[in-house]
Symmetry: C2
Subunit: 190 residues, 2 copies
């Protein structure tokens, strides 16, 4: 089984990459869902405060790779391929690398800060008080959790400063290389 994890800074296009994976019929596990499961299991309300608190409490108690471990348990062994969304620190990467060796691939999506800030400003919703300052704070929070190290240590980096179409094609091409090859006789024209 091939396990592919996507990582990237806010506004890099990570969510779009995950969307392309879903459209290709690839199962996706959101690491955040494991935190939600735990919050629900404890009978707590699903809000940002509880989710953030439980996520950190569990990391402190069981190690920085606890959410990678929980995510790994969610993988259906019958799957040929799965995409994992939400890697945040290098300990999670190391957990998957130890478990899966060459069957694990970490893909970082990268766009320049200029591109990301423009996207995030354009994307802001009516109910959202997004400012450049808040966007930069979010960057710093993610970098503080260690996402820079994760990007530096990625197996593959896909850049996303051009068109949405071009980016989606790059993601499709990359994911296709992990899919089982077509059966013999079906690709004689290649």
């Amino acid at each position: 089984m091939k396990v592919i994890a996507f990582t990237g800074m806010p506004g890099s296009g990570k969510s779009e990459a995950v969307k392309v994976a879903r459209e290709m019929g690839i199962p996706v596990i959101r690491m955040g869902d494991c935190v939600w499961d735990e919050v629900r299991k404890r009978g707590l309300e699903l809000n940002d405060e509880n989710v953030g608190r439980i996520a950190n409490e569990m990391r402190e108690k069981y190690g920085k790779d606890i959410w990678a471990k929980r995510t790994f348990e969610k993988i259906d062994p019958s799957w040929d391929i799965v995409v994992i969304d939400g890697i945040r620190n290098i300990e999670e990467v190391e957990f998957f690398r130890e478990k899966l060796g060459k069957d694990f691939t970490l893909i970082a999506i990268h766009a320049s800060p200029e591109t990301r800030y423009r996207r995030l400003m354009e994307r802001k919703r009516e109910d959202d008080s997004t400012t450049l300052e808040k966007i930069k704070e979010r960057d710093e929070r993610e970098l503080g959790w260690g996402i820079g190290v994760v990007i530096a240590m990625a197996d593959v980096i896909i850049t996303n400063d051009g068109s949405l179409h071009g980016f989606r094609e790059k993601i499709k091409d990359t994911l296709s290389t992990f899919l089982a090859p077509p059966e013999e006789g079906k690709n004689e024209n290649l």
Copy 2:
């Protein structure tokens, strides 16, 4: 004036990128030379221990961007373009971004850990007791200084997992975009 800084993990191909810049006639300033200048100024021997100690002492005393400031002073104002080699932390990036705005471009060179480790093992010299363990320690040291954050915040990422020739072409193409366009009438075939 365009200022281009290269960054990258050990074995990524950063030195090769700098070499391409030199071959194109672009002046290069090594941030490490500023540390060497300081070590010499103090009448100390130029060895790893003194260089490392002075580099850190000065960072603690004058701020994490001290070597960026010293490097900036070395830029000849008559140059149209200059390449800076050796960015290590985000404070140095912020110094250049504040000073130069859009005239500063941070280019990160990226290769997968697998590619980098293979290259570094192949590159080891006779007098070098390189082991995979030591290579990983060096990675951790660079990541500890904050190079992951620098890579995450790069303006451009150039990947280097394929051929040397292909990589050199990518660097040439990228650097060419920063050079002054040819005079009018000289490029009528384009």
